[in-house]
């Protein structure tokens, strides 16, 4: 009986329901573009919504929820937490990305979270290039209370990472998080260095690095797609973290990325302290893009 009741409800719904008009669809498309989904993805979502039936004269709020639903359905499959399950230990997490995207800070946040969960964590200062990059990571390691393996500025990143894995294996440390120098994806010699780090790691443990995390800055526009594509090819990216979502940028490029690459999105950064990382939540980002609610630090 319940079923038939529901069915008739749906049927009457169909009769009275209308489609969104072009003016509303235009507005939706523009809102999506402003959130950095890019013109192509925004047009696709517009197309999907144009075929959907709605209440006649839907309220602003109802339209926003429909947009959020559509975006959530794209993002939900890629909302995947970063699991610590490597055997043998350590689980090696390599963190890569373009300059200034937030790699080092994200590493500090991850380390802090894992320490809270009682894992043993070690950091490796694989950015031997940028001025005071090692000092920055050392400073974080001290604050969080985790050991760090570091060499000299200008030294060989791969050999530091190699030493890090050996040390973790000896000490029974669960997780080794590796910082790397920022690099633009079109610089082939710098990208080769990443491939080298991968190779050296693989010699110690064929499964390492277990995770290769590409850190994307939410402020970045369409170039993020090129970053995912090229870093993906060179370094076998296994997942994404998006930083700086505490600003006004909405990170809509993740929607385009989810459609195009389907890579897991692990977490988002929402501030500069070690407490400002939270798991990626598809609904939350969808609501932020649809303008229903902001991303909160909870």
């Amino acid at each position: 009986q319940k079923t038939s009741g529901k069915l008739s409800e749906n049927l009457t719904g169909l009769v009275t329901k209308a489609k969104l008009d072009d003016a509303i669809l235009d507005q939706i498309e523009e809102a999506l573009i402003i959130s950095d989904l890019g013109p192509a993805t925004a047009a696709q979502i517009r197309e999907t919504l144009s075929k959907t039936r709605f209440e006649k004269n839907p309220t602003d709020d109802a339209v926003r929820h429909i947009i959020a639903d559509e975006i959530e359905s794209i993002l939900a499959p890629v909302a995947v937490p970063l699991e610590i399950d490597a055997f043998p230990r350590p689980q090696v997490i390599l963190v890569i990305g373009v300059n200034g995207s937030g790699k080092t800070t994200t590493i500090a946040k991850l380390a802090h979270n894992y320490i809270e969960e009682d894992y043993g964590v070690m950091l490796a200062a694989g950015d031997t290039f940028r001025a005071a990059a090692i000092g920055q990571l050392q400073n974080w390691a001290e604050r969080i209370g985790v050991p760090i393996i570091a060499g000299k500025e200008g030294g060989d990143a791969a050999s530091i990472v190699y030493d890090g894995v050996k040390k973790c294996t000896q000490d029974g440390t669960d997780i080794l998080i590796v910082d790397t120098a920022g690099r633009l994806q079109n610089k082939s010699e710098l990208m080769d260095e990443l491939a080298k780090i991968r190779k050296v790691l693989g010699r110690l443990n064929p499964a390492a690095p277990h995770n290769v995390i590409l850190v994307l800055d939410a402020t970045t526009g369409q170039n993020a797609l090129s970053q995912i594509e090229i870093f993906g090819k060179v370094a076998n990216v296994t997942g994404l973290v998006m930083t700086k979502l505490d600003g006004t940028a909405r990170g809509g490029i993740l929607v385009a990325a989810a459609k195009q690459f389907g890579l897991p999105i692990h977490a988002i950064g929402i501030g500069e302290t070690m407490h400002d990382l939270k798991p990626f939540n598809a609904r939350e980002l969808a609501e932020a893009i649809a303008g229903i609610s902001d991303i909160e630090n909870d």
């Binding site: 523009e30 573009i33 402003i34 959130s35 950095d36 890019g38 013109p39 192509a40 373009v98 300059n99 200034g100 995207s101 937030g102 290039f129 940028r130 001025a131 005071a132 000092g135 920055q136 050392q138 400073n139 974080w140 604050r143 633009l184 994806q185 079109n186 610089k187 800055d217 939410a218 402020t219 970045t220 526009g221 369409q222 170039n223 993020a224 797609l225 090129s226 700086k244 505490d246 600003g247 006004t248 940028a249 490029i253 500069e272």
Partner: protein, 311 residues
Amino acid sequence: MFDKLSDRLGGVFDRLRGRGALNEQDVLLAMREVRVALLEADVALPVVKEFVDGVTQLAIGQQVLKSVAPGQQVVKIVNDALISILGGETSGLNLAVTPPAVIMMVGLQGSGKTTTTAKIAKRLKEKERKKVMMASLDVNRPAAQEQLEILGKQIDVATLPIVAGQLPVDIAKRAMQAAKLQAFDVLLLDTAGRLHVDTALMAEMKAIAEIGKPQETLLVVDSLTGQDAVNVAKNFSDEVNLTGIVLTRMDGDARGGAALSMRTVTGQPIKFAGVGEKMDALEEFNPERVAGRILGMGDVVGLVERASEII
């Protein structure tokens, strides 16, 4: 990944060809392609709208309709309009004051302020024989002050000695005093990265500006920036008297539409482009080249020349 605008426009006009003269409607159709090209290049939507409206008027008023190569003609009009907005007034640093001339660097986190501070210092020292000092007012990011100190050593430029625990405003005062006492020509103030919506940090930036009375306040912007460029540009220029923009990471493969957004929203010239991590990787901004990039065409100049020959 992206189509060239010229190809797209060629497509639009080819479809219309053989139907006789093109009309206003055809130009509007072409402008839809221009809009998408600009959006793909990350030009901010409100800026795209304003730009496309302006260019549409221009295009309709010109000879596009009669041209034998209307696609290229439209590209030329769009390209010229882009260059004229991106270029505008002259863009060198204006340091003609009783020394020390103060340059304050501001911007979002990780945009490239510290690196650019050192690059500009090196340039002033070597090209203009100025006596330069740099001071980091960044007490937020771990090792930020050390970063500037190391860069200072690399380029042989003085940095204000680090005093642990001092607040940015006090560091600014100390820097001013030191620069005056030691007769520096230029004092560069590197500030912490801040979000344009962080009221506390924006207030701090204003307080620093009060003390430094900077001759130049440069907003450092990542050329990879997307649609958020308008918010950033607007909030920063509402809070301090910006005098120019520096676009960093122009050595990447981004189309760099943020350049147009920044230029339009702040009204300030783009003074430099960062083209790498090394201390020499700073160039004067080149509007022609950037216009070509935004339109997705390295060969815009050649294309435009060919178009001009035809007309």
